[in-house]
Assembly symmetry: C2
Homo-oligomer: 501 residues x 2
Amino acid sequence: MSQLFEQLKPHLDKAYAYRTALVLLSWDNSTLAPKKALANTSKAVAILSGERYKALINKEVKDLLWALSTEKEQAELTAYEKAIVKNVKKNFEDLELIPPQEYQEYQLLLAKSKSAWEYAKTNNDFAAFAPVLKDIIAYTKKFASYKQKEGQPLYDVQLEDFAEGFTTEILDGFFGKLRTELVPLVQKIREKKGFISRDCLHRSYDIDTQKKMARFLSEYVGFDMDRGVIAESMHPFTTNLHNHDVRLTSFYRENGLEYALFCVIHETGHALYEQDIDDEITLTPIGGGAGMSMHESQSRLYENNFGRSKAFWKNLYSKIQAFFPEQLGDVSLDEFYGAINYSEPGLIRTAADELTYPFHIMIRYEMEKMIFENDVDVMELPKIWNQKYEEYLGVVPPTDSEGILQDMHWSGGMIGYFPSYALGSAIAAQLYHYMEKEMPLESYLEEGNLKPIQEYLKEHIHRFGESKNTQELLLETTGEAFNPDYYVEYLIKKYSALYEL
Amino acid sequence: MSQLFEQLKPHLDKAYAYRTALVLLSWDNSTLAPKKALANTSKAVAILSGERYKALINKEVKDLLWALSTEKEQAELTAYEKAIVKNVKKNFEDLELIPPQEYQEYQLLLAKSKSAWEYAKTNNDFAAFAPVLKDIIAYTKKFASYKQKEGQPLYDVQLEDFAEGFTTEILDGFFGKLRTELVPLVQKIREKKGFISRDCLHRSYDIDTQKKMARFLSEYVGFDMDRGVIAESMHPFTTNLHNHDVRLTSFYRENGLEYALFCVIHETGHALYEQDIDDEITLTPIGGGAGMSMHESQSRLYENNFGRSKAFWKNLYSKIQAFFPEQLGDVSLDEFYGAINYSEPGLIRTAADELTYPFHIMIRYEMEKMIFENDVDVMELPKIWNQKYEEYLGVVPPTDSEGILQDMHWSGGMIGYFPSYALGSAIAAQLYHYMEKEMPLESYLEEGNLKPIQEYLKEHIHRFGESKNTQELLLETTGEAFNPDYYVEYLIKKYSALYEL
């Protein structure tokens, strides 16, 4: 047992305590808090955020971290302890590179940028958001430049924050392949418009019954309600206080059953990851998942590879019919399977089907890369956005609210985050491919025997939390690095069959 | 503006931030958190509690508080600022009198005492709780002795913590009067058993409909849902993050409509108090109510003096019937009014009617006083308890779980807390008496025009928070100190009429 690590522990515990408070405050704000509460409550949030920052960013912690990084001390640490030291030290180093004055200015900017974006989106007024976006881009690029290594593309620095181990080189290859292989497929499906219908999902579905169905479905997939909560929010998300308290939200539309169905399966995919984190690290800085792309791979594996497969619904569908006998009684399994896989290029990322989804991400990727590589005039961005939508998806947003303003990420400084969504889908396909060799995957799905599937994921991925990164986990689990071929093959095979191409 | 007070502010803000986090964690634990979450989450709670303590109990704050207490500095402070300094200084002084070692031992004792009580209650095993209770009594008495002033009864010190300004002398007079005047009344009502029935409240009431009714009722009484939340918990309570985020819970029984009705009105009484606290002090240490007894007076004023009056239901009753046409359609207003005021001595405090309720408190008061004045053998307490129940209420608990173990207060060190409940009822009656002179109170209740009533309470009591104590507020509002006569008169008049005595 390392004495120095023992000295670090109280600091880690404090950071965990602040994180717990802040996660709960944020959860509460999204799910329950009364509408006039925010102004007062956010004063507490600001103070607690400051304390959380100070808990790990201080001289005492710094001395301990550097002392713990010597070879002699490292030899005394467990793998988890090493990962914790590495993780906290990296945060420290990243923050140290940024002058405190600039960091504070940036925090102030972020404090008002979300409402600027909300205003712009509500009023379809990109010009109102443009100056804020311009500043966010400037700060983000400047901060990335502080961390940039010799010869490293600037956007690569930014990607590191969200998808460690993924570079523009890898992503160019990935999106290039998608463009080449999938654009023709999307085009062929457009030509068969009407071949599949999803009208059955748009009948009137009682919301209270949908909520009961959502809970049933989440538990069916594996969510442990003794260690979890399901609530409702405008934008579905999953969060956790620790592995014994994982919370997901869903979202319901009376005339769109697909929202409840797939929001819940998607979020449960995230939630299983969080519930499976090792007890030993759940209260530490490495108690989360291994980065955004791996997290997203789990939600998409459940939502799409499992949740939109025919095997998954073979025996389950009758149970969903039982919730809605009037609405689904006359809909066959095949019709239902078609409906949940209906594909049509659209404007909105979060409403996109499995096939056209990655194009929404590709467009953002290309724009973010361009922003980082060139001096782009912010006011030109909507035009570029619309051109790309026309080129890849054949649709043009009638308003910026339905175009470049649709997502809040950039307003929160999350540039470089989007690629994780598409990477997640590709990683899911890669994992699925290997899991099929390890177990009778399709039979398990048909039988509703999802436990061994989750056990496999827990054993190979979930339990490690952030102690390993996405590329390491992929290599150890599948025996190869990230490989998008499985994803492209999967989509072509699935959609060619569905649309009889 | 006092410069010293400006220096104190960041410390106050920090304490407020920790309080916010802890209140939310506690609320969440009672209403939503998954059942296996507590062990991990309580580690964060322990750390945040420690930080909260340190935020105000430190050398820097001490120096500021003492410096702010000089006559010269006091002259520069507003009334609120003075109250804040006084409040924080009093906490400081109280804590300073207790040796840190003993304080910590006591905290450790409290950390395990609740589960010891729960075990004992579940298993009807008082002996299992007795050693813990013995230690709690010993610590409580020791801590009180540190604060005890020359000639002051020890139990008076303890009472100060919960009902500032109320002494054993006042309480002896109060309970003495209740004993003399009300025991005969209770006896007479026993003899008319069957004269009133409450069977209509024990029909089958759908829980979801009860929840809708509860929300309607709370808003009818005045709860502002834009600044509030209603949830469900085992034991109803009200809490707040600040005046724009006040949260109450209710509790529902399918075969007992009175629970939903009066839990909700009671808790809304507390909640209106919290929503009415002045904006200027809501985020400060004096942002709560003026002590337990005044808080309880507001909940009981709404629950009993208003909520169990005929005027209140005159026009409202038909709206409740509309929620439950099958169950209440054949029940007249008079029958309903009788049912909600049905009186019968029972064993359980929280299920007691308005008339027999104070006897439950009187018994606890007598026992607590005895514990503080004498060296009582803890193992004798159940026997004493049962004797008193037989003497005052004519009932004997068949088990200790339904007797001395029914409430958790003592297990949390809350000795001296119970009297506030009865004081609250008496204060409510005193306020009601004076309010009748100030406004057409009964007409307002009949019309459902509760706004001017709340405005009056806000103006005279609520807005001040803890900046004035209960006795001060009573004197300023009613022109006299605490006077239990109104309460006794009210009960005698009401119950004599109800039971035609």
